[in-house]
């Protein structure tokens, strides 16, 4: 095992761990946040970063190859399509009359 292999393995583990952490944060946001708009904020953002980071880690682990190019293309696809679909869903929800959630404040007019 040469030092370059060790560096690439360490980078793979770091990026994969970061991606898994972001996926966990997205799942927590999807389960715990109070209304649809905050949930779509948390879920799509964290899923975009998590999938991009994990796919980058796998492309690093694979080395310079045609499969690596395909994985980078999938990462670009996710980075393009995940915010677009989240925006389309939030737009549909807002146009059909879903009211965004506001925090109730005691003894104060909601501005």
């Amino acid at each position: 095992m040469t030092p370059a292999d060790a560096v690439i393995g360490a980078l793979t583990v770091v990026f994969a761990g970061l991606g898994a952490f972001f996926f966990l944060v997205g799942t927590l946001g999807l389960l715990r946040l109070p209304d649809f708009f905050s949930r779509t904020h948390a879920a799509t953002k964290c899923d975009t970063v998590g999938a991009g980071s994990l796919l980058l880690a796998l492309a690093l682990y694979n080395g310079l190859d045609a499969d690596s190019l395909k994985i980078i293309a999938i990462a670009g696809l996710v980075l393009l399509t995940s915010p677009t679909s989240g925006h389309a869903l939030a737009r549909a929800a807002f146009r059909t009359g879903l009211v965004p959630w506001r925090k109730e404040r005691a003894g104060e007019e909601a501005s």
Binding site: G9, T12, V13, A16, G19, A20, F23, L24, G26, T27, L30, L31, F36, R39, T40, A43, T44, D47, G50, A51, L54, L55, L58, Y61, N62, D67, K70, I71, A73, I74, L77, V78, T81, S82, T84, S85, G86, A88, L89, A90, R91, A92, A93, R95, T96, L98
Partner: protein, 91 residues
């Protein structure tokens, strides 16, 4: 390294099953569509991970098609929710 990739894949699958609870109990329809979209993204990453575990590069192409279908499904569902139909102009 294969064990590590197995671990990440199992972690993502547990996350995906937790997301399915929102698809079951979500108060609105858009919550359910968003949850299915998120599960689809996680499945895409799991497919690429499993292509390394089983050493079959065919799964990468399957993941690509999965991502494209996921995008189309979410756009079609949101358009249907907004306008009530799938074909024709937006008016």
């Amino acid at each position: 390294m294969s064990g590590f990739l197995w671990g990440v894949a199992i972690f993502l699958l547990v996350n995906a099953f937790l997301c399915l609870w929102r698809a079951y109990a979500g108060p609105t329809v858009v919550d359910r569509v968003l949850s299915v979209n998120i599960v689809g993204t996680k499945t895409l990453v799991v497919l690429v991970l499993l292509s390394f575990v089983f050493e079959r590069s065919l799964y990468i192409d399957v993941a690509f098609v999965y991502g494209l279908l996921n995008f189309i499904v979410t756009l079609a569902a949101s358009r249907f929710l907004e306008t009530g139909r799938l074909r024709g102009d937006w008016s």
